[in-house]
C-alpha cells in the first residue's frame, strides 16, 4: 500500500521546481531580446532587457525563499535533498545568465551609434542561438531527469567556445581600423558574455547529473578539458 504522504511538502517542492522552470523561460526570453537588440543596435529594446532583469531577479529571490522554507521546515533527505541543493545552484546560474544579458544590453547601448561589422553580428546571432539551445537542453534535462541530455551540454559548449574564439579573431582582423576599434573591444566582452551563458548551462547540467547520480563532479573544467 503506497499511499502518497507528506503531500504539502511534495507540493512545495513541485512549486519551487515549477518556479525554476519559469525563471528559465524568462532567461530565454531575455536572451532572445538581447541578441535582437544587439543585431539591430536597438537601444530601446536594450533598455527593456535591462528592466526585465528585475522580473528574473524577483523569481530568483522567490525561489531562494522557497528553498529556505523547504530546508528550515521540511528537513528534506535523499532525492528530495539533492533536488533542493540542485535547485539552489541552478537558481543562481539562471540569475547570472540574466545578468550577462544585462551586460550585453548595456554594451549594445554604448555601441549603438557605431558602425557594425556584419560578420561579427552574424556570429553573435549564431552564438545566441547556441546559448538558447543550451539553456533549453539544460532546463528540459533537469525537468526530465535526463542524464544523457545533461551530459550533451559539454559538446554544445564546445561549439559556443569555438564561436567565441572566432569572434575574438574577427575583432583582431579589423583592430587596425581605428573607427571600428572601440566597437570591437566592446564586442569582445559581448562574445565573452554569450560564452559564459553557455558555461552556466553546462553547470546546470552538472546539477542535473548530481540530482540523478548523487555524485559531485564537474563534466569538464579548465584543468581537465573535455576529451582528455
Amino acid at each position: 500500500m503506497a499511499e502518497q504522504m507528506r503531500v504539502t511538502f511534495q507540493d512545495e517542492l513541485e512549486q519551487v521546481e515549477a518556479a525554476l522552470q519559469e525563471e528559465g523561460d524568462y532567461v530565454l526570453r531575455s536572451l532572445r531580446a538581447t541578441v535582437n537588440a544587439l543585431e539591430q543596435a536597438d537601444s530601446e529594446l536594450a533598455d527593456e532587457v535591462i528592466a526585465f532583469d528585475d522580473e528574473i531577479d524577483n523569481r530568483y529571490f522567490s525561489i531562494q525563499e522557497g528553498i529556505q522554507s523547504l530546508l528550515a521546515r521540511q528537513t528534506p533527505v535523499a532525492v528530495d535533498l539533492r533536488l533542493v541543493l540542485a535547485m539552489l545552484h541552478t537558481n543562481l546560474h539562471l540569475e547570472r545568465m540574466g545578468d550577462y544579458c544585462v551586460t550585453i544590453a548595456k554594451l549594445t547601448k554604448l555601441a549603438s551609434d557605431a558602425e557594425q561589422d556584419e560578420r561579427l553580428v552574424q556570429a553573435f546571432e549564431e552564438m545566441g542561438q547556441r546559448a538558447e539551445e543550451m539553456i533549453r537542453v539544460a532546463l528540459v534535462s533537469f525537468q526530465r531527469r535526463d542524464l544523457a541530455g545533461a551530459s550533451s551540454l559539454v559538446d554544445l559548449d564546445e561549439l559556443i567556445d569555438r564561436a567565441n574564439r572566432r569572434a575574438v579573431e574577427r575583432v583582431l582582423d579589423f583592430a587596425d581600423d581605428v573607427s571600428k576599434r572601440e566597437w570591437g573591444l566592446r564586442m569582445i566582452i559581448v562574445s565573452r558574455c554569450l560564452e559564459r551563458i553557455g558555461d552556466h548551462a553546462v553547470d546546470i547540467g552538472e546539477q542535473t547529473a548530481y540530482l540523478i547520480t548523487g555524485e559531485f563532479r564537474e563534466f569538464t573544467d579548465a584543468s581537465h578539458p573535455a576529451g582528455s
Partner: protein, 283 residues
Amino acid sequence: MDTDTMDEVAPIEIAKPQEAKRSAAGREVVFDTRDLSISYGKSLAVGGVTLKAYENLVTAIIGPSGCGKSTFLRSLNRMNDLIPGARVDGEVLYHDQNIYANGVDPVEVRRRIGMVFQKPNPFPKSIYDNVAWGLRVLGMKDGLDDRVQRALTQAALWDEVKDRLKKGAFGLSGGQQQRLCIARAIAVEPDVVLLDEPASALDPIATAKIEDLMHELKNDYTLVIVTHNMQQAARVADMTAFFSLERTESGGHGVLVEYDETQKIFTQPSDKRTEGYVTGRFG
C-alpha cells in the same frame, strides 16, 4: 525575426504562481489571551502569556519540558478546571468572549473547542459509537449516520473502517485510533481543535498521516497544537509560539518567549533563547 519589444519575443507559458502562504494578516482572532497565568495551588505554572491565535491557521506551541505548553493549551477550553487547585488569572478571550467569565458553561466551551490528547483514548465501544457518542450526548441525532461518515472522512479514516464500523475501536492501530479520536472531536462540529502532542505515541508513518490530516483540517477548523517535536511544528504550523522556563527563586515557571510566523521562528528568530532552542544548542 524582427522584434521591437519584449512582448513579441518568444511567448512563454507562465507556470502557476506559488500558492500564497497562509499568514495571520486579515484573519479573525479566535483566541486572544491577555496576561494569562495559570497556577497549581501556590505554584505558578505559566505566567503572563499574551497571544492571539487566528482562524484557520495551525498554531504550534513548542518549548522544553515543564515550560507550561500543555497547561496553556488546556486553559483554552477550560480543561484545567478539572484539576483541583488550578487557578487562572488574566483572560482567555474566545471570539472576544472571556471563557472564564461568570455564567459561561464549560461544557459549551468544550463543545466548540475540542481536544485530542497525546495517547489515543477511544472509548471501549465500536468505531461508530465512538464518533456518535458526542453527537448523541448533545442531541445532534438527525442524520447521525451521515454525521459519523463525514467526521470519519474528514479524519481520513473512512476508507479504512467503513466495512467494520460496528467493530471495537481497540482493534484499530495506534495511528488509526488517534484519527478516530480526531473524528470524535470534529463530529460535534467544533470551531477549534486543540491537539496535545497528538503524534508523540505514533510511529513515523502514522505521524505523517496525522500531519497531512492537519493540513486538510485547517481549511475547516482552527488548530492549536502542542508538540515536543520541533520539526513537526516546522512542518505543520503557520504560527509558532516558543515557551521557555524562567527560573526564579521559588523554582520556575513557563513564559512565552517569542511568537511569530513559523517561517520566521525557524529562519530568523528574534530572541536568543528561541534561537538556542530551535538550533538545538540548548533547551
